[in-house]
Amino acid sequence: MKMRPGGELATRPLEFIWLADCSISMRTHGKIEALNEAIRKSIPHMQEVAYENPNAQVYIRSIKFSSGASWHIEERTPVEDFTWTDLDVQGVTDLGAALRILKGALTVDQMSDRALPPVIVLVSDGQPTDDYKEALKELMEEPWAVKAVKIAIAIGRSANKRILKEFCGEQGIDVLSADNAETLVQYIKWVSTVVLQAASSPASTASGAQTMGINVSIPIIDEDFEDIETISIEDVW
């Protein structure tokens, strides 16, 4: 057989970025431990989904925010090599600082033209303490941020769901409320598998000048999902 024409082949990259709240309030009721555990548990499931989608190369990164924000895992790590380093808590909830770092990662220069829609998962238990509005506005000036699948998980009852919904967008997915460790594990598993799977699809979406928004059709969470809450009242955040 004649040699195939063209250069090196590659699967399409898919960026998966965690945005994790590490403010001091995440220490109460073991929320940060629950988040660390949930993300760690999700890794084999993500690897399984990635294995079943050999035409998408999933890369994972993580941003942490408290008093300021920084990369927790800066290197774009292939999912098969990904390990989770525990987050620690301190300070306040500077969500805006995290969104500015995210913006830098989603610029047209940073992203490949052939990338699949990125998946961004924001996990928070509180109220932003900086100017998140301006940072969110600046973030949404990036075309890849507009097209990203944006998921927000509110941990506990003190989380400001209205602000988290602003991150997801009016047309976006509703904020997920995790009031206990088990629910958090389930939601993290859902975004790491079902959402990741949906974002890995090469299906196109008709979108001229008329439409703006995400291109990924996210399946609805199973109806029996809520039935997992068989825990005692003192475990509720």
Partner: protein
Amino acid sequence: MLIKNSQWINTYETVTGKTHIKLDTPNQDAILSEAIDEECLVSIVADGHGSKKCTRSHLGAEFAVQAALETVKSVRDDLIKNDTLNTKVIGKYLTRRIVKAWRQKVDEHLEKESLELVDLDLSSKEIRSIKKNPYVSYGSTLLMVIFIREFIICYQLGDGDILFVSKAKNVTKPIKRDTRHIANDTSSLCLHKPEKEFKIKVFRDLKSVLQMIILSTDGYSNSFSSESGFLKVGSDIFDMIKDDGFEVIDQHLKEWIEETSNHGSGDDTSVSIITRLEDQSIEEVTV
């Protein structure tokens, strides 16, 4: 599939991507070429969107290539006027007629087989959008090149690529990539007034410069790690034709695009290669 007239020779193939084989869904691409006469050849590719909302986009792509070919045939005699291109015909007049013909085919199909939205795993918002615009279920892109006498007319609606390969083996894109098309976004026949979204480029008297044109759906370019790797397709095929003749391309094209899709995007992939007939004995031009 070999097509030729007095000026051009063309081969084309399409393969179903691994993703659709796994999900047991049909190839969402359609591809068609025809030598209408000795002076006019048309090559068309279309890519159905394939998302959950677009359950009939494989048919939409098929309708798109048929509608485009039928439209070009119907205006064939009007394309040239006073020995030059009739600009009144090649622009919106033609694209409007393609859109009209495509919608007619969709309407006829919908009449025969109405959409049963309740059977689909769609959100209420998605169902509302399909009810408002049923063409969404058939959404497709469209790329077409008309070769008529000394003219080459390129049309592009949505993603996909047209490559020009010069006699000096330079590979370029006559229609630049639409920067709005990221993260699987694309313009489409199913949108409102799609005729306005067509990119059209016309070329004349390229005989001494242009050797070959390649049309492909985005499953092909998305399979290469870099743009230069994708453009290399043009120069590699140029060399192969020079060394072994066009029949080699015709024999191996399907295997090549299958391998490319399998190790790349996993998407349905369609490629049409059109080269000047005398290129079976290509002579390389020194730049």
